[in-house]
């Protein structure tokens, strides 16, 4: 150990650089007096934290509120969907050609034969040139009626459907007898 210590003794180099060694350490100028911590910073930081907290609470409240609104809207949507389908179901069948033809025939309308056309430019008439006859080419209430089971219980299903069926019945009674059988003729004895 002693040998080693001797060996590491720093050697003074005779050929030292000419430049004057600069002092490594310099005294500090007067140290700044420690400033008193500003209250404003603390308040800002605290305020910021509180603001973040408040924002978070606000946001989560808003999200919660939204999810309630969403739930209520989707329930409303469901109700409206149900109403839509209920209304559509009421129309189903009523929109069919059978229903239209039956109602029209109850009003005394006929499915006519060949049509006529009027040309506006010169007033020429094409086609038969006569009006519709008394006889219908088909009888929507007859043996050939195209069935539609959606229309089967028109009177009993709902009270609101009543008038239509009633009208149909009374109309038929008021009309000339058996409109499909041609022009009514007076009975002579």
């Amino acid at each position: 150990m002693s040998l080693n210590a001797t060996a590491r003794k720093p050697l003074v180099t005779p050929a030292a650089p000419a430049r004057a060694p600069r002092p490594r350490l310099t005294p500090l100028p007067k140290t700044a007096a420690r400033r008193k911590p500003k209250l404003a910073y603390a308040l800002t930081a605290l305020g910021g934290a509180l603001a973040i907290g408040a924002a978070q609470i606000g946001l989560s409240l808003a999200i919660t509120q939204d999810s309630y609104t969403l739930a209520s809207l989707s329930s409303q949507q469901r109700t409206l969907d149900l109403q839509t389908s209920a209304l559509q179901e009421e129309l189903t069948g009523l929109s069919s050609p059978q229903a239209l033809a039956t109602s029209a025939s109850a009003l005394g309308m006929v499915v006519a034969g060949a049509p006529s056309y009027l040309r506006l430019s010169d007033g020429a008439v094409f086609g038969t040139g006569t009006g519709a006859g008394w006889a219908s080419t088909v009888d929507p209430n007859g043996a050939g009626a195209v069935s539609n089971s959606l229309l089967v219980p028109p009177a009993s299903a709902d009270a609101n459907d009543g008038p239509v069926a009633d009208d149909a019945a009374t109309q038929t009674e008021q009309l000339p007898p058996a409109i499909t059988d041609g022009l009514p003729s007076p009975e002579t004895h």
């Binding site: 209920a86 929109s95 069919s96 050609p97 060949a114 094409f126 088909v138 009626a145 069935s147």
Partner: protein, 592 residues
Amino acid sequence: MTTRATRSPRRRTVVALAVILSILGVFIVRLVDIQVVSADEHVAQSLVYLGDKTTISGQRGSIVDADGTVLAESVTVYDWNMDPKAMNAVETDEDNPPKLPWAEASTKIAEIMGLNADELRAGVAAAREENPDTQWYQLAKGLNAKQYTDLKALKLPYLHADSRETRVYPNGAVAGSVIGFLDGSGTAQAGIEKMETQCLAPTNGEETYRKGTNGVVIPGSEQKTDAVDGGSVQLTINSDLNWYLQQMIAEEAQAQGAQGGTVTVVEVKTGKIRAAAEWPTVDPNNLNGSSPSSWYSKLFTYAFEPGSTFKPVTAAAIMENAGVTPTSPTVSASSKEHFPNGAVINDAFAHPTYNYTLAGALIDSSNVALSKFGTMVSPDVRYDYLQRFGVGTKTVGFPSETSGELHPTSEWDNQSLYTTTFGQHFTVTAPQVAGAYQAIANGGEKIDLSLIESCTDADGTVHKAADPEKKQIIKPETAAELTRMLENVAVQGGNAERIKVPGYRVTSKTGTAQIPDGNGGYKSGVYYTSMVGFAPVDDPQYVVIVTLDQPTRITSSAATASAFQKAMTQVMKTYRVMPSTVPMDALLPKFE
């Protein structure tokens, strides 16, 4: 330095370290194996216990007509049941008596469901008597959305509804047998429903999730794939016209004492089938309302020997290959003739020997004259023409559609050598006949028939049906002369007065087919009669074919005259076809 004393503990350390490291190594290997190598397998295993999924069913698409009128749609209906035990609990809860006691509630339920209130109460009481713990009692099935809303409004905790999809056909039997129907499980059984399953069927979605103890869904583990509803199929059919024709053919068929009848309308310029009416038919809403034999469309599946309606095809062959014109040459024909090869051909009515022109042979529908005209060309030429006009080729690919039967010429015997000139010894469906006349009406250009306009996906993408194949099968001049002759048939033929459509020039040709009796022979005295034609002659727009199955009041094809007249009138009216403005050419001579 490494003395014996120090070596021993170090070795022990090394050994211990090695043991620990090797154990650690084993663990690491196992860990890698579990977490990396066979991770998927283990995840899959765990999902058996943890994962679950529910299917989200999509809705089947609608079928609409050419104007968008809904012919078939899926709607949700509700099957209602109740929990009698829960009802009893609510009823006997003295601290919190029910707002709506059962006696009153049952009356309201019955009213909404259309049941008898007394029977309902008795039924529930009986169910409870049988098993006091029963929690299920079926109330009613297939209730609609209004009833659902009304029942929910009662706020009864013991009522439950299961929703399911069902098919509704708003127009009932209008085009019923063409549209088809589904079976109880929602599988298409017939008609367009079956033919267009690919477009109509929905793609089910699913929701997968993991669940913890007691089946609680682990939040955030849900994965949802939405269902894709089926597409909507648009047909070329006009449902209003179809309704009229169904109504009309039903009346006519019954008036003629026939077993059935059909009307098919084809648009000349496009080959689109605008109406496919049949009687008897089916209301797909109520299959049990009609006999099972009428559940399936016969239009595309019933092939018959067309008879005289195919004489114009023979005429086309000889005009283009033997230089025959409507007026020359003529053939001499009596009402029954024995041919050199032993065949015997009869005409439908007795007449003296006439020198028939081709026009006259068609007007009088003389089988004998046609046999003589027809054999002016080889059987192979006639076979070719039959094929060109669509015999033996399916039309629209309808489920179970038949292509009819066209025997090769090698199988034609002495008799059928002649009978094939007037529509026997081969079979066709009514749409095939309409297709043949479409070609004549359209200047010789045959356009394949179509029944489907398009398929519209749930997202609104429209897939148009492929363009039909078009083919010039005869020269335009031949088609024009055939049209002229067919107009002469309508004007000079036996049904002339009965098939007049005021204002319009029409063509027509009757056909009377014998019906196989199933024992190799033909039924006697009854026929499958038909009448086909198009109008207006000056600019052909629509082909109409009417068939009657075994009319008994008038057994000949004259039975179809009134139905044909009404059908053609209605078609012209429906499509606002302008009445003919060009007068008819001079009448063609029948004889020389």
